[in-house]
Symmetry: C2
Subunit: 388 residues, 2 copies
Amino acid sequence: MSSPSFRFTLTSTDGAARLGQFETPHGVVQTPAFMPVGTQGSVKAMRQDDLEVLGASIILGNTYHLYLRPGHELIARRGGLHSFIGWNRPILTDSGGFQVFSLAERRTITEQGAEFRSHLDGSRHMLTPERAVDIQASLGSDIAMAFDECLAYPSSREAAARSMAMSLRWARRCRERLDQLRAGDVPEVTVTNPGQAQFGIVQGGVFQDLRDESADATVAIGFDGYAIGGLSVGEPNELMYEVTAATARRLPADQPRYLMGTGTPEDLVESVARGIDMFDCVMPTRNARNGQLFTSQGRVNIRNARYAEDDRPLDPRCGCYTCRRHSRAYLRHLYMAGEMSAAALNTLHNLSFYLDTMQRIRDAIAFRNFDTFRQEFLRSASRLPLDS
Amino acid sequence: MSSPSFRFTLTSTDGAARLGQFETPHGVVQTPAFMPVGTQGSVKAMRQDDLEVLGASIILGNTYHLYLRPGHELIARRGGLHSFIGWNRPILTDSGGFQVFSLAERRTITEQGAEFRSHLDGSRHMLTPERAVDIQASLGSDIAMAFDECLAYPSSREAAARSMAMSLRWARRCRERLDQLRAGDVPEVTVTNPGQAQFGIVQGGVFQDLRDESADATVAIGFDGYAIGGLSVGEPNELMYEVTAATARRLPADQPRYLMGTGTPEDLVESVARGIDMFDCVMPTRNARNGQLFTSQGRVNIRNARYAEDDRPLDPRCGCYTCRRHSRAYLRHLYMAGEMSAAALNTLHNLSFYLDTMQRIRDAIAFRNFDTFRQEFLRSASRLPLDS
């Protein structure tokens, strides 16, 4: 059963690129959309009003982190994640699977689910498809993700097939569990957002026939949207683009498609060109904290000595607070001096660049000149980094 | 010679408490005023627009830090500190003396000045009264402080007398040097703010006759304002208040009086009651980063488990962004999770509390009910901490 509160509308297309929007209990999101990552209920170094000013229409929360600290039950008692963190726009939560596979210690994966120890205090936990659904229902995100197994790259075809098949069985259990929650059959779970939508995740590694099988079977289960998981894990970019294009084609045209964990600004443009509607990635926020900045003229490593006396704004074509107010020289000084405001100003800029790129993508599709935009964008982005 | 750009006006008094304002090349400051500390050209965890929204009319920069990194000459080439950090309101710089005595390594103090090694890289430096004036002239602050020796507490009367006498000789050299700079006699020094004012500093430890001697002799040199240095260094609060009161009385009524490095909100109120016009202190910003928050209902240690499920704002009487948007439960979560935004939100609140307290002090003096305000403020501030 689909969520009655979630509705995707495809507005127009330009080649495989799609312009659309989806409605959630906390508002509308224009697509293609980029979701800043707010792992622990905070997009690192940002305030919620900063995100609003930048035009972020949806953010992502990490179920694994929030489950461990402060706990989904505490958050449910606060009225859910939106209320707890003071963010009234849409939120998507992942299922926790990826972090169990990448962060947790001493994992044991069985058909039942994943047993692991917390990276925070070593405590033992079990995450099953049902539990991942329950936790996200308590968090009350607008979009919950199915619990899947994350395959390592590279993996054999056999391992990919086995993992994909289990993820499919887990996806069915996730769907059934949410239907039970909606029917009120699990009273011990606090549901804080009854209009929550649920997305399935297509797996299958880099084997297109497995991806096709996973896509068909996941769609058959019936979700509100579909994600492509297990990419951006180390495979060559061209391979990621190929799998993305072929898998996106196989998904329903009238539902949103989400490429998980991607990527560089170029990846976003290239994936939109292949039919993707939604993205999340820590790259703009994490790189900002390391002084790696995205600009319309190429990458900038603000630590570079060449910026010590550079009075120009970071990106003369950017309208963000950082670029309007400060020079590269000041940003470099803050970074070198270890000031916290370096992280805040850099993150503000990088997220502005990402969100502005999405706006330009949407405008280009609306005016049906996406391919021209794409060529120009890749040309400017592929310039030698300013400080190479 | 006084700065022609600096003018202090005493508007009204209520007992020893004074309401006034001073004009600088970068605008007017209402007094009593609190100056947030922007050690390295950034008030830690704040953006400049945050400070503007909070109503900060003047901030402090540390000469020692800025001299070592990124260097006053680099800052002068950027047009001065205001231009470099993107802050167009008044700035006061200290002389670097206090940090040489508290942070630097292997100090040697002679009549000539202070030789020391940088706490950053061990490099050798010499700070003299003339050099401290030159550096501040290059930084281009609106108010520069004379270079003085900082006495340890406790100190013998003899040590206090000897140190006070040297600080006086240094003060004369500072005054002469600034006159030379203004006359254009030192062309190798870049002066970025020709309207810079200069304040003298009264020393003398806790010995009131030495304080009196220092005050009279410092006033005789002729500065644009006078600071009381060497307090808030570990002496009992009552002793600080006594020395402050007696020293303030000895200073000219028509010039501003600045109590350096103080203090708690109660200290501000008590010192205004003794005739002080200006303050600076790292307490609101540093404590915020440690989760120690000031509220109208007493101190809050946001780490305390009792706030884990507390949905109330930090301070229901505060109108800052943090209190308008977030709960104690969320602030505690951010702190416990090590999120940078904890520092930003907490600092925003603590500075808001300090600056709001100054506004309430000014209002109370204007309405001539400062003593009533003071009694009420001390009563609410002295309540047992909420989480004791």
